[in-house]
Symmetry: C2
Subunit: 167 residues, 2 copies
Amino acid sequence: MTSDQPRPGEVRAEIDPATTPADAGVIFIGRIQTQWKSRPECPRNIAEARERGIPAKLQLAPTWRRGLTGLSQGDHIIVLYWMSEAPRGLVIQKPHRRPQPTGVFSLRSPARPNPIALATVKILSLDQAAGRIEIDAIDCLDGTPLLDLKPWRPQMDLPADFKPPDT
Amino acid sequence: MTSDQPRPGEVRAEIDPATTPADAGVIFIGRIQTQWKSRPECPRNIAEARERGIPAKLQLAPTWRRGLTGLSQGDHIIVLYWMSEAPRGLVIQKPHRRPQPTGVFSLRSPARPNPIALATVKILSLDQAAGRIEIDAIDCLDGTPLLDLKPWRPQMDLPADFKPPDT
């Protein structure tokens, strides 16, 4: 994550969404349980999380557990979650590994106007009554709030003219 | 979209997120401009929108335009948008084309606890100064609020064990 102090070349928007009146409200439908208790421990992104190969859990609040009906072990889902610790006003950012500052919408940084992260993950096991899903990997802090789960669908989630890397 | 009257087999949660105190707030960073002025006109999803082949526009508010730096024509991006007209409390739903009711998290319905939709689209043209991006297709009503844009990255957004359909 980006620290709260801008780095050289970074640009803040003239408003801070964290202290601007909201246009709409989200509710937390559960929490993500991971091994990562502090930012430096977290994988940088879902690709790095998969390389580490450490499973995580999604824990749904009782209200929403019936909504898991129709999901099964082996399914791929898109998880949306709320990166509540990230600053929200950085329009131009300078990630450590990039030579030049660039726009927030060309980055997957958690620091964005609406700190909604997404990860495509695989269901290792699912206990609907307990509202608990074990997944292959994720990149966020323990306790991160959950916003949504969606089934991953190739006809929707692959780019329109997608060609696999090897063809 | 699902109408506000539950269909046979549908189940509402004991709370309605639309009238529950929010856990966090989102801001609208712009609007989506489409051909669709009413729900019945809208494509059912991004796959159907692509089949119709009608481009759409993303219009960013001035505050966020510099955040487009680093995006280019031909790039694929993930668009997050707010389906403000959809009911939010339906945990079990019965879409018209499905024989059985099923859980909201196994569906891509806009009716969900947090009505955040996502579509993977292609940039046809981009005018950063005007904050305007032309995209290949999208499935939502004209004027739908924008929440976020993210670059689509194969190493993150393809499932971990993804095999192309033909191999």
